[in-house]
C-alpha cells in the first residue's frame, strides 16, 4: 500500500489554510488540510468577524479590497448563509491630531481605490444615532462589514471538500520531512504523509511549525478579548472601530460583540481578565451609553499573530524548496482570508500571483535592521497602542 500522498499539504484549519485549500482544490490540485484540533478552534473561531479594509499599512489595502470581492462571491456560491454583510465601518476620531491623521489616511486609501469618507460629528450621528462620547468625527467606509466567522469557515471548508480537498482533524504535525534540500512530506500524530509542497498556515503555532524545518518566523501571538451581550433589537448599523476604545458590532442574531484589542501575553494564556473586561465595557458605554444596563452573556479570548513591522508573512520559504508560509496577519486574518487563499494558490501553481505581495515575504526579516523600515504611517498607532495601554485610564 502506497503512502498517503498529495500535491499540497496545508498545516492549519483556520480561515487561511482552508481558503488556500479551497482555491487549490478548485484548480484541480490534490490537497489535504492538517488540523491539530478541529476547524476554527483557534483564532478564526474566536474572531469578531470584522471584514475591514481600512486603517492598515499600505500593502494590505489591495489585498483587503480583493478579499471583499471574494467574500461576496463566496456568499453567493455558499450553501450556508454565513451572515456576510457590507454594513460599513465607522472609525471614530477623538482629537484634532487624530482627525488630521485619519483625513490623511482617507486621502491615501481613496487614491488606492477604496470608497471612504471623513464624516464630521453630525454626519457620524446620522449613521449611528445611538452614539455618544467626545468623538469629533469618523472615517466611514461603506464597503466594510462583517460575517459570522465559524459559519464562514464551515462554508469554505465544505466548498473545499466538495472540490476534493481532504480534511484531517485531530492530526498534529510532528515534523517536516526534507529530502535532498526540499520538502518531501510531514510526520503527523497519525503517520507520515508525502507531498512536495507544504504550507505553514498554523497561525499562532506557525513559529513552532517553522522550527521543525529550522525556519525562524518572527511572529508573536497576542491575546484579544471578545465580550458578547444578550440579544438586542438591531440598533447599531455599521461596525464601530476606535483606536483606544476597542471595537464593536451587532450580529444579525442581535448580540453585540465588544472587542478589546490585542495585547502581548506570556505563552498561550487564554484567561479572560478583569482588566480587559472592565476597560472594554466602560469604554463601550462611553460611546453607547445605553449599553450600560445590558448583560454580558459570555467573554472569551483568542490569539492574533503579529510581526515587528505589522505586515503579514506570506510566500515561499527561501531556505527550503517546497515550503510556504501564510501567517501572522496582524489582526486582519479573517478579513483577508479569501484573498490569502486565492493569492497563495496562484503563487504555488504559477510561481506568481495576480496581486503582488512581496512586502509579505518572510525573507524581509533577513535583511539587516535599518534597511527594512517600510513606510508604515497607519501602523504607528497599533504599535503605540500596546505601549500606552492602561495610561489613559
Amino acid at each position: 500500500m502506497g503512502r498517503e500522498t498529495y500535491d499540497v499539504l496545508i498545516i492549519g484549519g483556520g480561515i487561511a489554510g482552508v481558503s488556500i485549500a479551497y482555491f487549490l482544490a478548485k484548480a484541480g490540485q490534490r490537497v489535504c488540510i492538517l488540523e491539530k484540533h478541529v476547524l476554527g478552534q483557534e483564532s478564526t473561531g474566536r474572531s469578531a468577524g470584522n471584514i475591514g479594509q481600512s486603517h492598515r499599512p499600505p500593502p494590505d489595502l489591495p489585498i483587503a479590497m480583493r478579499a471583499v470581492q471574494l467574500w461576496k462571491q463566496l456568499l453567493q456560491e455558499s450553501d450556508l448563509d454565513f451572515e456576510y454583510r457590507q454594513h460599513g465601518n465607522l472609525r471614530l476620531a477623538w482629537t484634532d491630531a487624530h482627525v488630521a491623521k485619519l483625513k490623511a489616511m482617507v486621502e491615501r486609501e481613496r487614491a488606492g481605490g477604496l470608497e471612504c469618507y471623513f464624516l464630521d460629528r453630525a454626519e457620524t450621528h446620522a449613521l449611528l444615532p445611538i452614539a455618544s462620547g467626545p468623538f469629533l468625527g469618523s472615517v466611514y467606509s461603506p464597503s466594510d462589514g462583517s460575517a459570522q466567522p465559524q459559519l464562514a469557515l464551515l462554508s469554505l471548508a465544505r466548498a473545499a471538500v466538495r472540490q476534493g480537498a481532504v480534511l484531517h482533524e485531530r492530526r498534529e504535525v510532528t515534523g517536516i520531512e526534507v529530502v535532498g534540500g526540499r520538502v518531501a512530506g510531514i510526520a503527523t500524530s497519525g503517520g507520515p504523509i508525502a507531498s512536495g509542497v507544504v504550507v505553514n498556515a498554523a497561525g499562532a503555532w506557525s513559529p513552532a511549525i517553522g522550527r521543525m524545518a529550522g525556519v525562524h518566523i518572527p511572529a508573536e501571538a497576542r491575546r484579544s478579548h471578545l465580550m458578547i451581550t444578550e440579544r438586542l433589537p438591531q440598533f447599531m448599523g455599521p461596525v464601530v472601530s476606535t483606536d483606544f476604545y476597542g471595537y464593536f458590532r451587532q450580529a444579525l442574531s442581535g448580540n453585540v460583540l465588544i472587542g478589546y484589542s490585542a495585547r502581548p501575553v506570556e505563552g498561550f494564556d487564554r484567561r479572560v481578565t478583569f482588566d480587559a473586561v472592565s476597560l472594554a465595557t466602560r469604554r463601550a458605554a462611553i460611546i453607547i451609553p445605553r449599553l450600560t444596563g445590558v448583560s454580558l452573556i459570555r467573554a472569551f479570548t483568542g490569539f492574533t499573530v503579529w510581526t515587528p513591522d505589522l505586515l503579514p508573512i506570506m510566500g515561499p520559504v527561501r531556505q527550503l524548496d517546497g515550503l510556504y508560509v501564510a501567517t501572522a496577519f496582524c489582526g486582519l486574518g479573517f478579513a483577508i482570508g479569501p484573498a490569502v487563499g486565492e493569492l497563495m494558490a496562484e503563487l504555488i501553481l504559477n510561481g506568481r500571483a495576480s496581486l503582488p505581495f512581496d512586502a509579505y515575504r518572510l525573507d524581509r526579516f533577513e535583511q539587516p535592521p535599518g534597511q527594512v523600515a517600510p513606510d508604515l504611517p497607519a501602523s504607528e498607532n497599533m504599535a503605540g497602542r500596546v505601549k500606552t495601554e492602561g495610561r489613559e485610564e
Binding site: R231, L232, P233, F235, P289, S295
Partner: protein, 103 residues
C-alpha cells in the same frame, strides 16, 4: 399540577403561585422559575427571534441562555437562574431583549 416533583423525603418551602402568560403555576420557595415551570409540564420558555422555533431549559446552570424569559417585564432573564417569588409575572419570550431607554 405537582406530580413531576419528588414527593418523598423532600422538605419544601412555602407554596405559592406565579403567573405564566397570565395562567397560574404552583411554585415552592427555593425553586427557580425553570424548576416550577418544568414541574408544571411547561417546556417551551421562549421562541427564537427569526424562525419562531421553541426553546426550553437546556443546560440548567446558566450557561446556554436557552431558557430566557420575560420576568416582571425584564426580557432575557434566565429562568434557571431566577428564583420564583410569589406572584411574579413570567412571560414566554417571543423576541429580543431591549436597550435602556426603550419602552
Amino acid at each position: 399540577m405537582t406530580h413531576r416533583r419528588v414527593e418523598h423525603g423532600v422538605v419544601r418551602g412555602r407554596r405559592f403561585e406565579i403567573l405564566l402568560d397570565g395562567r397560574t403555576i404552583v411554585a415552592y420557595e427555593g425553586e427557580t422559575i425553570a424548576a416550577a415551570l418544568t414541574a408544571a409540564g411547561v417546556t417551551t420558555l421562549r421562541r427564537t427571534p427569526k424562525q419562531g422555533h421553541p426553546r426550553g431549559m437546556f443546560c440548567g446552570i446558566g450557561l446556554c441562555w436557552e431558557c430566557a424569559v420575560v420576568v416582571d417585564g425584564v426580557p432575557n432573564t434566565r429562568a434557571c437562574q431566577t428564583l420564583a417569588t410569589p406572584g411574579c409575572c413570567v412571560e414566554t419570550q417571543e423576541g429580543l431583549g431591549r436597550l435602556e431607554g426603550e419602552a
